[in-house]
């Protein structure tokens, strides 16, 4: 087995040519050839998958960009042009000239930021409690919170709507932020917990022996070590708040509405949807989350995996 591996790895073209010329009966050489052919085939399959599926994944994004740059007259043409002949930025200019859309944009930024701050504060405390303490009911509480991200939103929105309207929270920023936070909480708690799990208990004990109060141990010893977790959880909460549709659609009302439901109400249901304008607006909504995600991929993917799959 070892010799075959050596042949496979260190095989040179010259050696192979010589062996092939002599039609060597050496099984190790046959193995090496088969392995190379196998690897070539594997690469070919990989490339085929990447091209076909990559096209499926990325063409719609390309199409959003193309449409957003197409002047209205050319967008309503069949069959459509795959490359814009007269690109224009006018739809983006129009977006930033529209006071209603700008208000939605402001609402989105405000609500998503507040959601991130509130969720992070609550999730940090809860995640710390789950990670570093053992008490009766802890496991049940953990799984109850974890399972809550799977409750059907449409159903509990019914009571939430009526509850908010009697509490005066309907159509307020506070109401929207509270609902976003509650639904982002499970994932963020899970992310924070898995980061706290990696902080060694001996550090906490050392702090306790020095006589530091409990909250001080959390703030000055544990939190600085969990910075990547804070970043991942905070960004997740921001993105969830920014991207949410059903809660903002139902609980925010026309004045406090965020961009996703705002765009639905503005553009769909018209007699003829202005697709280039809608695609430009879609790009504007998508850009912040895409930039955040791509630039911080390392933290987020780690957090995401930690949040969903326990290693």
């Amino acid at each position: 087995m070892t010799s075959a591996a050596d042949v496979g790895v260190r095989d040179t073209r010259a050696a192979r040519d010589v062996r092939e010329a002599h039609a060597s009966p050496d099984p190790a050489a046959r193995h090496g050839r088969r392995r190379r052919r196998d690897q070539r085939r594997q690469r070919l399959a990989a490339w085929a998958a990447i091209i076909v599926l990559g096209l499926f994944g990325l063409f719609p994004i390309y199409w959003m960009l193309v449409t957003a740059l197409t002047p209205n007259e050319l967008a309503f043409q069949f069959p459509p042009q795959l490359v814009p002949s007269e690109p224009t930025l006018s739809h983006f200019v129009d977006f930033f000239d529209d006071p209603t859309l700008l208000r939605f944009l402001f609402n989105s930024a405000l609500v998503a930021t507040l959601t991130a701050v509130l969720t992070l504060a609550v999730a940090t405390l809860m995640g710390y409690s789950f990670s570093k303490f053992r008490y009766r009911g802890r496991a049940s509480l953990m799984y109850l919170v974890l399972s809550s991200q799977m409750f059907p939103h449409a159903l509990l929105l019914i009571t939430l709507f009526m509850m908010y309207s009697s509490l005066g929270l309907l159509y307020t920023y506070a109401g929207v932020v509270l609902s976003f936070s509650a639904f982002t909480l499970p994932l963020c708690v899970w992310i924070m917990k898995s980061f706290f799990d990696t902080v060694p208990d001996s550090l906490l004990e050392a702090g306790a022996l020095d006589g530091a109060p409990r909250w001080r141990i959390l703030i000055s010893i544990v939190l600085p070590l969990a910075k990547p977790g804070l970043l991942a959880a905070g960004l997740f909460a921001f993105v969830r708040g920014w991207n949410d549709f059903i809660f903002a659609l139902t609980l925010a009302g026309p004045e406090k509405m965020t961009l996703p439901p705002g765009l639905v109400n503005t553009y769909l249901g018209e007699f003829q949807t202005s697709w280039p304008a809608l695609m430009a607006a879609s790009l504007v909504v998508s850009l912040p989350v895409v930039v955040v995600f791509i630039s911080l991929q390392r933290y987020l993917v780690g957090g995401m995996v930690a949040g969903s799959v326990r290693e």
Binding site: A5, L160, R310
Partner: protein, 309 residues
């Protein structure tokens, strides 16, 4: 400082109780309290109260309600329950299987570490990162019957004589919705499976390769057994999420045409927030919750097993 009992507990869990045991628990509960309050107030109470609503006739916007017993359940059973259940199952199955196969193929391909695969992996995350509403707009535009690019390409290639009404035809609407949803969720599956592939020992693969095991044989004999845990959780979560997915269906079809894409989420939302009929929506929701609860229990079992390991 610590009692024998708490020391024993610490030994079992591999952790210390951090100082005085009693106040430690109090502190821990205090830490968890804001999260518990948020959870009870915004999620658990509304959910349970919504279920109780199924026993009343009640309007969403008018005060007062009347106890009607199981009448709402009778209406739902004799009405839309079966088609809604069927649509939900079709949507869930399609939107789980298709993105899973796409995500798995891409994960295996990108795991070959070819040049540029990191960049491609980043770019392919986009469909999942962008707001679901944007994904919906995008596919609404692609499937557009008059000016859509899908019809454009198919007509130009000679596959179709004239454009199809993808979202307006009950026979194609569900497939179109499933494709849009699959597009939005395959990147997450891809990333999770890529992470899972890192746990496949490279030397084991190498050894099998040297022993002459082909790529397909290696996939089933080595890769798949190592991925089992991740695959289980990914599939289960996708099933649960698809089972209550709302956004893309609502924007693309609103449940139409002729109710052909009306799933539980769409039906409950429309009945409550367009028809203002809280009782019927809640009765439908009870059936929905029963199935979801079973799925979530399975999920928690799987997670618990992972936690104990």
């Amino acid at each position: 400082m610590t009692t024998v009992d708490s020391q024993a507990r610490s030994a079992r869990s591999g952790r210390t109780s951090l100082g005085k045991p009693l106040s430690g628990t109090a502190f821990a509960l205090l830490l968890a309290a804001p999260g518990v309050a948020l959870f009870l107030g915004i999620i658990l109470y509304p959910l349970l109260a919504s279920l109780v609503n199924s026993l009343y006739r009640q309007s969403l916007v008018l005060p007062g309600r009347e106890f009607v017993g199981l009448e709402n359940f009778g209406d739902v059973l004799g009405g839309d329950l079966l088609p809604v259940l069927r649509n939900t199952i079709v949507f869930t199955a399609g939107s789980t299987v298709i993105p899973f196969l796409i995500g798995l193929s891409l994960a295996l391909a990108l795991n070959q570490r070819m040049r540029g695969s990191a960049v491609l992996r980043g770019a392919l995350l986009m469909p999942w990162i962008i707001p679901s509403v944007v994904a919906s707009f995008l596919w609404l535009w692609i499937f557009n019957a008059n000016y859509g690019v899908l019809n454009g390409l198919l007509v130009r290639a000679g596959v179709l004589d004239s454009g199809a009404v993808w979202l307006g035809d009950p026979s194609t609407a569900m497939l179109a919705v499933i494709i849009a949803k699959s597009w939005a969720s395959f990147p997450w599956i891809m990333v999770m499976l890529l992470a899972g592939l890192q746990t496949v020992p490279a030397d084991l693969m190498e050894a099998a390769e040297v022993d002459g095991a082909g790529a397909i044989r290696r996939f089933f004999a080595i890769t798949l057994p190592h991925l089992k845990g991740v695959v289980g959780i990914v599939v289960l979560l996708e099933v649960i999420w698809n089972f209550h997915h709302f956004d893309i269906i609502w924007v693309l079809t609103g449940g139409g045409p002729a109710g052909s894409t009306t799933t539980f989420a769409v039906d409950v939302y429309r009945t409550a927030f367009r028809g203002f009929d809280v009782g019927s929506a809640a009765a439908m929701g009870v059936f929905w919750m029963i199935i979801l609860t079973l799925l979530v229990v399975v999920y928690l079992r799987v997670m618990e097993r992972g936690e104990r390991r």
